[in-house]
């Protein structure tokens, strides 16, 4: 229990000094200088005050001054009935005072007896002596025990100053320590040292913290950009991009007007494919335009191996449609259905309203789904997204196309976009 008590005290001290150190370190140079000057000035003033009234500062626990002029009377506080002889007028009061003093001294002795140090024992002895002195005087004045006795001394004076175990007044005055301004000055020096060391530690801490924070920010930023890059990669396949750029490059030499057309389609496609996190839904018209750009590029590249037909009524262009789904289906049809087929084929994009639902279909005459697994995986992703967006209100229907290829339909609830978004 004692251990934990000291421990508590120690932690208290440590905590306090740490707080002081931090506080000192956080001050600006000017604040610190100002504080130092104030401290010194205050110390100077305080020193001045103390010089005139030293007793105030070094007040001893007991200060006794007894001046004896008359023989002591018996203690009439405790046994008032015993007092038989007529006492001088001041006597009862004096005896009461004496009694009190004795009590006080006794208390002091009792208190000091607990302590074992030299100072305490000296103090105790002195107190005992005083006690004896006073008691003997009382005895002399006691009418019961020493009736005939006359006071030996008509006047007796005892002057005792007790403070910090130092009974000698002069010594007490001398041992008061260095002047207050010097102490304050030393304190300031110590605080300055503390301030410098703490400051360097704090600035190192701050640097570490800021480095950590920036590293965290950096990793967060990287995560975001990686996610965006992944989205972009998922949307703009590098194989498609570089093949298209190679074709554009060739056309700039051989057929510049066609190169321009192809480049414009590519720009439109890239702009539409860039991840736009804000938009959860876009219009069917916008998605169809994106597919048109893509297919126009693929037609320039695949030439007569690709036939494209698009049948989307203008009235449906303003309907809400999830982004990058239709294009994903079209790309799948090209990549897995038509491009790997030596003779190529046709792709048809169409949209209808049927039973209050919007049905958008991508049909191709390519190799078909059964023969290539990746298309199935891509469809799984679209299915998941539809489920998240519409729950059971949406569907993805896959069927073989006649005579070959795949026929894929996205069915979603028929929802017009808010008027402001239908501009495109």
């Amino acid at each position: 229990m004692d251990k934990s008590f000291f421990k508590n005290i120690w932690t208290g001290i440590v905590g306090f000094s740490r707080r002081v150190a931090d506080g000192v370190a956080r001050l600006t140079n000017w604040q610190f200088i100002l504080l130092s000057i104030l401290g010194l000035v205050a110390a100077g003033i305080l020193e001045g005050i103390l010089e005139t009234r030293p007793a105030v500062r070094r007040a001893p626990p007991v200060a006794i001054t007894i001046h004896k002029e008359a023989p002591q009377a018996a203690d009439n506080d405790a046994t008032p009935d015993v007092l038989t002889p007529p006492q001088p007028p001041g006597d009862p009061l004096e005896s009461a005072i004496k009694k009190r003093i004795l009590k006080q001294i006794q208390k002091e002795i009792d208190r000091e007896s607990g302590a074992t140090d030299a100072a305490s024992s000296v103090k105790r002895e002195i107190l005992q002596e005083i006690q004896k002195e006073i008691e003997s005087e009382s005895d002399a004045a006691d009418p019961v025990s020493a009736n005939a006795k006359k006071p030996k001394k008509s006047k007796r004076s005892v002057e005792v100053h007790i403070g910090d175990g130092d009974s000698k007044d002069a010594a007490a005055q001398q041992n008061r320590g260095p002047p207050l301004p010097l102490i304050i000055f030393l304190l300031i020096v110590v605080l300055l040292a503390v301030r410098i060391t703490t400051r360097s530690r704090l600035s190192a801490d701050a640097r570490v913290q800021s480095a950590e924070a920036s590293a965290e920010m950096e990793s967060l930023r990287r995560q975001v950009s990686e996610a965006q890059l992944q989205t972009l990669q998922a949307q703009v396949e590098p194989h498609f991009l570089f093949n298209t750029l190679a074709a554009v490059e060739h056309l700039t030499e051989t057929d510049p007007p066609r190169a321009t057309v192809m480049l414009q389609h590519l720009i439109a496609f890239l702009r539409g494919s860039l991840p736009d996190m804000r938009e959860q839904n876009t219009s069917l018209g916008r998605e169809v335009d994106l597919c048109k750009s893509y297919l126009a590029i693929m037609q320039i590249r695949m030439e007569d191996r690709l036939t494209v037909s698009i049948d989307v009524p203008d009235s449906l262009r303003g309907l809400s449609f999830p982004p990058m789904m239709l294009q994903s289906l079209v790309e799948n049809a090209i990549k897995h259905g038509l491009e790997p087929k030596p003779e190529g084929g046709a792709i048809a994009l169409s949209a209808r309203i049927q039973d209050g639902r919007l049905r958008v279909t991508v049909a191709d005459t390519g190799l078909g789904v059964a023969e290539n697994a990746p298309q199935g995986i891509g469809l799984g992703n679209i299915r998941d997204r539809l489920k998240r967006l519409y729950g059971n209100a949406a569907a993805l229907v896959l069927a073989p196309n006649a005579p070959t290829g795949a026929h894929i339909t996205i069915e979603i609830p028929h929802v017009p976009l808010p008027a402001s978004d239908t501009g495109r």
């Binding site: 570089f242 060739h250 030439e303 491009e339 030596p342």
Partner: protein, 261 residues
Amino acid sequence: MSHSPRAILADDERLMREQLRARLQEAWPELELVGEARNGEEALTMVAKLRPDLAFLDIRMPGQTGLEVARTIAGCCHIVFVTAYEAHAIEAFERGAIDYLLKPVDNARLAVTIARLKERLAAGHNEENAERALERIETLLTKLSGDRPSRPGVPYLRWIQAGVGSQVFLFPVEEVLYIQAQDKYTVVVTAAGESLVRKPIREFAETLDPEVFWQIHRSTIVNSHAIAAFKRDGEHAEVTLRGRNAKLEVSRSFTGRFRQM
């Protein structure tokens, strides 16, 4: 090298073929471009027919991919892959010594490839090169197996490589009349002649279409389309082939097929 080098190029996109042709003609005027293929099958046929020294193959092609074509023709000619973007393959190219070009083809890079090809052409063909090339292509194919789906079921062997002298030729299996084991080698007989292949006959038996190629003996496989007649004389049975004098012995365990005829 006595004659000027001959090359074919294969890409499914005309613009890409045109571009590569233009670049090659500009950077390597002596190179003779003898054929342009639009897919893997055409490339194989061209290699077999035209016997070029070089083949520039696009990786993503309909029918057979450039890598699959390369596996079949490795050793017959030097191969340069042309690709727009094959992340895994490029890494493999860079480690192995196989040449590759990225689309759009960069002139400076093309010059490096041409210099390398000239060096190799001067060194000439040999079987060791062919084996190493095949190994590298196998590595590439394994690398890319994560990139693309593997075909369901392994297709039957359709092309056969055979060494004649120091040259390696490629010919379609349809041209094969019969195959016969001979010591460590296998003799592949076509209308044009015989060639030795360092491949056990068992491997042919496993990879050739059994509907067309019939095993008639422990050491003989015959192209059923080439059979003229089946003759049995007591214990002995044999087949004769169209337009050839050769008679091939049919062992007892394989006569079952002829009984149904």
